[in-house]
């Protein structure tokens, strides 16, 4: 399974025997693994890679605990699916973890097959997320190449305004609007308005506020 080989499972657990056991189990399922003993060690030595992966995080680790590490990762903007494992998880802990977007919350000793299944699910999610992120990044780069006027026209076009209306909004002649529109379609590599709207959604472009436009005037 080439997909799985490409994925990387990160284990953060301070218990050496649990580390070794998980390492062994995941090895037999052909996952690539990286192991850390504490949140600190993990944060110091790990950088996000484009490769898909997931994090198996022991709740009770020294200094920064699991929940805190999860929060820290979110703060840093790393969207790595997290599977919590705990020796004595409580309901409030699991609720908090799930709220913070954990993939799952497993109580030790756990069923290995379900762990493997969850890991797969997590990797799938990661991979999907990664692809989306990649696409998004591409669009963002393209969008960044547009001139400011073209970006303004982009925002107004996807709002559904006609060329005449856009010209009126921006205080330019309709012909110029047509030129900008053609240029941006070309730069964004799209052929239809529908495609442009989809990209706008992906990029979560803020609609052009009149204030911004008015300030431009």
């Amino acid at each position: 399974m080439p997909n799985e080989i490409a994925a990387e499972v990160i284990i953060v657990d301070d218990d050496p025997s649990v580390q070794r056991a998980l390492n062994r189990l995941l090895g037999t399922h052909g996952f690539a693994r990286r192991i850390f003993s504490s949140a600190k060690e993990f944060l110091a030595n790990w950088a996000p890679t484009p490769a898909a992966g997931c994090l198996i995080l022991d709740f009770e680790i020294p200094e920064l605990n699991g929940l805190e590490l999860q929060a820290e990762l979110q703060r840093r903007g790393f969207r790595l699916p997290i599977i919590f494992i705990t020796g004595h998880g409580t309901v409030p802990m699991s609720v908090q973890a799930m709220k913070q977007g954990a993939m799952d919350f497993l109580q030790k000793p756990f069923d290995c097959q379900s762990l493997i299944n969850i890991i797969r699910k997590a990797i799938d999610q990661s991979r999907r997320q990664s692809a989306e992120e990649h696409e998004c990044l591409d669009l963002e780069q393209k969008f960044a190449l547009l001139s400011p006027r073209e970006q303004d026209v982009f925002r107004l076009v996807v709002k559904g305004l006609l060329n005449k209306q856009i010209a009126c909004e921006l205080g330019i002649v309709e012909k110029t609007v047509k030129v900008h529109r053609a240029r941006l379609m070309e730069k964004m590599q799209v052929k239809s308005l529908a495609e442009l709207v989809t990209i706008a959604e992906t990029l979560r472009l803020p609609p052009c506020s009149s204030s911004i436009l008015s300030s431009r005037k």
């Binding site: 218990d15 025997s17 062994r24 020796g87 000793p109």
Partner: protein, 638 residues
């Protein structure tokens, strides 16, 4: 000038004469005062040695001494009247006395007893003309002729013969016979006549055995075989039937010793010479009274104005030794009886010593038993306390385990998880076409190690929960500390607290109970973790440090980076039931201190320089003897 000189000389002469006269008067007074008054006591017979006369003399002498009449010279004269039975001889005696005292001024004469009194009444005018006479011990029977004489005064006594016979009847209820003993002397015959006068009343009631006038040998032989129900009434014996002269009291004693019946008499001074007793004529009181009268006369009182005194009270007196000899019960004696010569028994003499010693011993025994009882009670109380302490410690441990429940679950779940994961990994490995057997083997090895680890956790919990008496063994404090840290590690981690161990490598062993010491360390650790978790600023750190102290003891200190202890709390930290935690019992530290103390150690705490607090337990290093076999270890001392 001259005319003035003469009266001056005259005055001087007159003054000198006056002075000389004064000196003469003073001298004369001095001379008069220096002249002692002389009192002559005249004893009739038997002389000074007779007990009665000795008593008379001593009584009068002591009365004079007491009256502080040091000026009185007491002279004595024994008339030995039995030597002078005829009037010629009496005159010769009087003549002798007159010549003897011709140059001597006598101020007062005291004739003693009837014969002496009679003699002096006859011869006073020729021997001691005009000298006042105070007689002593006139027997007041008969004509009582002296009562109405104005030229003499003195004391009279009553001889209570009848009373003495009555007394004998009381003491001997079956009394049928009276053996009367008297001599042939003047006094003897006088006494006998008095007796016969009295005995008239007893004719028919009592039989009279007349032993009067016998020679002494004969008398003694007779009294030794008296018939039953007989008492001897001893009157006087100064001269026996054979004409020999004796001391009456000495004879009385002899008679008593020989007799087979009790002897009675009625003269106080003869008591003690073998007499059981009798209604006693009081010689001493009589003599004192005589002396009193004599002193009045000497001080110038007129004899005519002094009424003769009669000593009419004749108390019942007994000789305790004779009562015993004849087996007479003291309880039958009339009330008011006087018992003399009571031989004090050991009990009588040492009664207070005996009572004292006995009381002392009793008190001591009581004290000892009280102390022993106290000791037993104390021992019991101590045992009880130690039991309570153990139970309390156990309770506290159980509560600790309860508090750690989640973490202990984690401690067991951790190896269990590892075991499961390893087992499934091994299964998965074996499912492969070419299983990696080395990896399977490694997984199985890990499983074995993890089961051991789970077991250790369970043993640890079981020890904490088990309520067993403390068992002193030789311990490595580092190991105990490490185990305790392992128990709280998960709890600390979940609270984001790191525990650092700084254990000294060559720590000497200590003697103690591992469970109890672990309890102390656990308590420290839990408090520290909780304290640190209250403090949101890093580092959130608990340090466990063991060290060898300079005083040779071993210390274990747990420091935290928490908010520390405020002084108000610090004061009450070791108080039982003092707690700052809402769910706390407040017993943890007080139990810990008691554990430290039973281990011969101590507990202390302090605030850290930067932040947080440090709690330390200090324990003595194990003794050289193997602690397992030692009976005097710190735990046993409890």
């Amino acid at each position: 000038m001259r005319s003035q000189l003469i009266p001056g000389i005259l005055a001087r002469v007159a003054f000198s004469c006056l002075l000389a006269a004064c000196i003469c008067i003073l001298h004369a007074r001095d001379g008069h005062a220096a002249d002692a008054q002389k009192v002559l006591i005249l004893f009739p017979e038997e002389g000074w040695s007779a007990p009665a006369y000795r008593t008379v003399y001593n009584a009068i002498k002591s009365a004079f001494d007491e009256a502080d009449q040091t000026q009185i010279t007491l002279l004595g004269e024994s008339l030995d009247l039995y030597l002078f039975p005829s009037e010629d001889r009496e005159r010769a005696l009087a003549d002798f006395l007159r010549k003897k005292y011709a140059r001597e001024r006598i101020d007062l004469i005291i004739p003693v007893a009837n014969s002496s009194i009679n003699f002096m009444l006859r011869y006073r005018d020729s021997i001691f003309p005009g000298i006042p006479m105070v007689y002593c011990g006139e027997v007041a029977h008969g004509n009582k002729r002296l009562e109405h004489r104005s030229d003499v005064t003195g004391t009279a006594v009553i001889l209570d013969i009848a009373g003495t016979i009555e007394l004998a009847r009381v003491l001997q209820p079956d009394l049928r016979r009276i053996a009367v003993v008297a001599g042939t002397g003047l006094v003897d015959r006088y006494m006998l006549s008095l007796f016969h006068e009295v005995f008239k009343d007893y004719e028919g009631k009592l039989e009279l055995l007349d032993l009067a006038g016998l020679p002494l040998d004969n008398l003694l032989e007779r009294v030794s075989r008296l018939p039953a129900s007989t008492v001897i009434l001893y009157l006087a014996l100064q001269r026996d039937g054979a004409g020999r002269i004796f001391s009456s009291s000495a004879v009385q004693k002899l008679v008593s010793q020989t007799a087979n019946a009790p002897l009675f008499n009625f003269i106080e001074t003869a008591l003690g010479y073998g007499s059981v007793g009798g209604r006693m004529t009081q010689i001493y009181a009589m003599s004192r009274k005589t002396a009193e009268i004599a002193l009045r006369v000497l001080s110038g009182e007129s004899i005519a104005s002094i009424e003769p005194a009669v000593i009419s009270d004749n108390p019942a007196m007994f000789d305790w030794r004779e009562l015993k000899r004849w087996g007479i019960d003291e309880s039958i004696l009339p009330s008011g009886s006087i018992i003399r010569f009571k031989e004090a028994s050991l009990w009588d003499v040492y009664r207070w010593w005996v009572i004292g010693a006995f009381s002392f011993i009793c008190l001591q025994a009581l004290l000892i038993s009280l102390l022993v009882n106290n000791l037993i009670k104390r021992k019991r109380a101590e045992e009880q306390t130690s039991k309570f302490r153990q139970q309390l410690a156990h309770m506290s441990r159980v509560s600790t385990v309860g508090q750690l429940g989640q973490n202990l679950a984690h401690e067991i779940n951790q190896p269990l998880a590892a075991i499961r994961v390893n087992a499934e990994a091994a299964q998965k490995l074996l499912e492969e076409d070419h299983p990696d057997l080395a990896e399977v083997y490694a997984a199985l090895g890990d499983i074995v190690a993890d089961t051991q680890r789970a077991r250790e956790v369970i043993v640890c919990i079981r020890n904490l929960v088990k309520n067993k008496p403390p068992e002193p063994t030789r311990l490595d404090l580092n190991r105990v500390a490490a185990e305790a840290v392992q128990v709280v590690q998960a709890d600390a981690a979940s609270k984001g607290v790191a525990i650092h161990l700084k254990l000294e490598a060559d720590l000497p062993a200590v003697d103690g109970d591992s469970v109890q010491l672990q309890q102390v360390i656990l308590n420290f650790l839990l408090n520290a973790v909780e304290s640190v978790s209250e403090n949101p600023f890093p580092p959130q750190l608990v340090t466990v440090k063991t060290a060898r102290e300079s005083d040779g003891r071993v210390s274990l200190c747990v420091s935290d980076t928490g908010p520390g202890i405020d002084p108000e709390t610090a004061k009450r930290l070791f108080e039982p039931f003092f707690t700052t935690k809402p769910q706390g019992l407040g017993l943890g530290l007080s139990i810990c201190r008691s554990i430290a103390e039973t281990h011969g150690g101590s507990l202390s705490f302090g605030s850290n320089l930067d932040r947080g607090a440090t709690f330390c337990i200090r324990l003595p290093v194990a003794s050289n003897i193997n602690a397992k076999h030692s009976t005097g270890g710190p735990i046993d001392a409890e």
